[in-house]
Amino acid sequence: MILLDIKNLTIELETAEGLIRAVDRVNLTIREGEIRGLVGESGSGKSLIAKAIVGVLNKRWHITADRFSWAGQDLLRLSYEEQRKIIGRDIAMIYQEPSRSMDPTAPILEQLIESIPDSELESSWWGRPFERRKKAIALLHKVGIRDHQAIFNSYPYQLPEGVCQKIMIAMAIAKKPKLLIADEPTTALESTTQAQLFRLLASFNQLKGMSILLISHELETVARNTQTLSVLYCGQLVEAGETATILKQPLHPYTDALIKSVPEFQPDLASKQPLYALPGSIPTLQHLPIGCRLGPRCPNARKECVKTPVLDRLQNHYFSCHFPLQGKK
């Protein structure tokens, strides 16, 4: 079943110079039980999309979409209260710097208990405090923290970043969400803890059938942990499809450059040899090029590239480029 189905999502920012289109007609679908990666560099709008999905963008951002449906219901047509109700029930999100997104003034137990919704509790009201505590302990055990007693009375600043991120995940899964959005969950972590965390996320995906949207700028970590992949550049969807297919045969020059710039994917490259890199730098939001936004940096750009390419498909592999790397059709 398709859980989230977004078509032509456009997010615009109101500024003194007029509207800036930060996200330009992006499509995104997430099926039940799928782990989808969302890759893009800074300024690509990946975090904006995540925030648009959970509906936490403020009034300055204009969100429009042809279709924005969650499990068959169009979210944008619902009233604000109904939106919150559905999103609050089904979607959870974890953030980049866990110790900063937790309440610094409350001990962990209080924060964890707060995240358990009433609908998860069975006992009558006098049994609830006890049940909540029991649930909180079970949650910590689920994310691989055994010594719950020591954690419960600690404050976020006293705990290592990896433990904080696990607690964030515990909070996120407390309501048994259908979709977990992980916005750069491992950037603040050590490489050994990173591997642990991905194993944890994968196990929830397999055991509970929870879908995961994994957002990151590191292609290699995303590639290793996802089944499907969407690549963004400057707010435009560049390529989407199955991770393995994209890695094997990228159709868009940007995806190609991303893959080539990671030494891990280039086994033939001798050490200390120059990496493949696109010239130039990522344009800022105020100076976005028209048409295909990769245009000025693209090695195969031609005259046609001043028009935004439409999303084309090759079986299940979507790409938006006038001159894909493998011949069209």
Partner: protein
């Protein structure tokens, strides 16, 4: 090897005192018995998690901290903290986040000029020449000297930070997680730039990072630090193919799985 190493560290120890209770003191051994050597034109990677002593080591090398015991030899000569002014030409330091390590109130040209004014005998004209030459070497334009740091994009900013380090023609560059925060396509550009500089000028790098995949590509030798102790030290490909300690095995496995 016949050549003298550019930098040699012998049995370096460093500990910190931390107050405990009202009168008590606790000693934290930040580094114990660290030895390594770095030859000209080579790259040494120092890998380890937070709290492993990576940054302490870097601070000792640039003279922000003094070691408890042990020797730091630069081209065969022992350096002490009083020589700092002499050897800050040779060792330069690049910080993690260029946006935060550059002064936002100062134009790039002024900033580079300051470096030259404090540490060299060059006159005004020579300094200007040197600034322009360095900017060009790093793929920036002369006009960029009149820019403020906020006018640069992330990748260019890291180039400016590199310019500040390279303007003194150093022999050793310490990169403290300098590549981690960059976006992949910009990181590839900077890596290429660093590799090219190394090839052309014989610069040595000390790369402090926990990004193992990059280490494998650009470093010649590597040192795994864990809780202040050196675990594995050797050629990068040897350490990667045959790690000796459990921690290094775990670390390397996490980068490959």
């Amino acid at each position: 090897m016949m050549t003298t190493p550019l930098l040699e560290i012998r049995q370096l120890y460093k500990s910190y005192q931390k107050a405990q209770g009202i009168f008590g003191r606790k000693t934290i051994q930040a580094l114990s018995d660290i030895s390594f050597s770095l030859y000209p034109g080579q790259t040494l990677a120092i890998v380890g998690e937070t709290g492993s002593g990576k940054s302490t080591l870097a601070k000792l090398l640039v003279g922000i901290e003094t070691p408890d015991s042990g020797e730091i030899l630069l081209e065969g000569e022992a350096v002490t903290i009083s020589d700092y002014k002499k050897y800050n030409h040779v060792i330069r330091y690049i910080f993690q986040d260029p946006a935060r390590s550059l002064n936002p109130h100062q134009k790039v040209g002024q900033m580079l000029d300051d470096v030259l004014r404090y540490s060299t005998q060059l006159d005004e004209e020579q300094r200007q020449d040197k600034i322009h030459q360095t900017l060009q070497q790093l793929g920036l334009m002369e006009e960029h000297a009149d820019y403020y740091p906020h006018m640069f994009s992330g990748g260019q900013l890291q180039r400016v930070a590199l310019a500040r380090a390279l303007i003194m023609d150093p022999k050793l560059l310490i990169l403290d997680e300098a590549l981690t925060a960059l976006d992949p396509s910009l990181r590839a550009q900077i890596v290429n730039l660093l590799l090219e500089l190394q090839k052309n000028t014989g610069l040595s790098y000390l790369l402090i990072t926990n990004h193992l995949r990059l280490v494998r590509h650009i470093s010649d030798s590597m040192l795994v630090l864990h809780q202040g102790k050196a675990l594995d030290y050797g050629q990068t490909h040897e350490v990667f193919s045959n790690p000796q300690h459990d921690y290094s095995k775990k670390l390397i496995k996490s980068a490959q799985s």
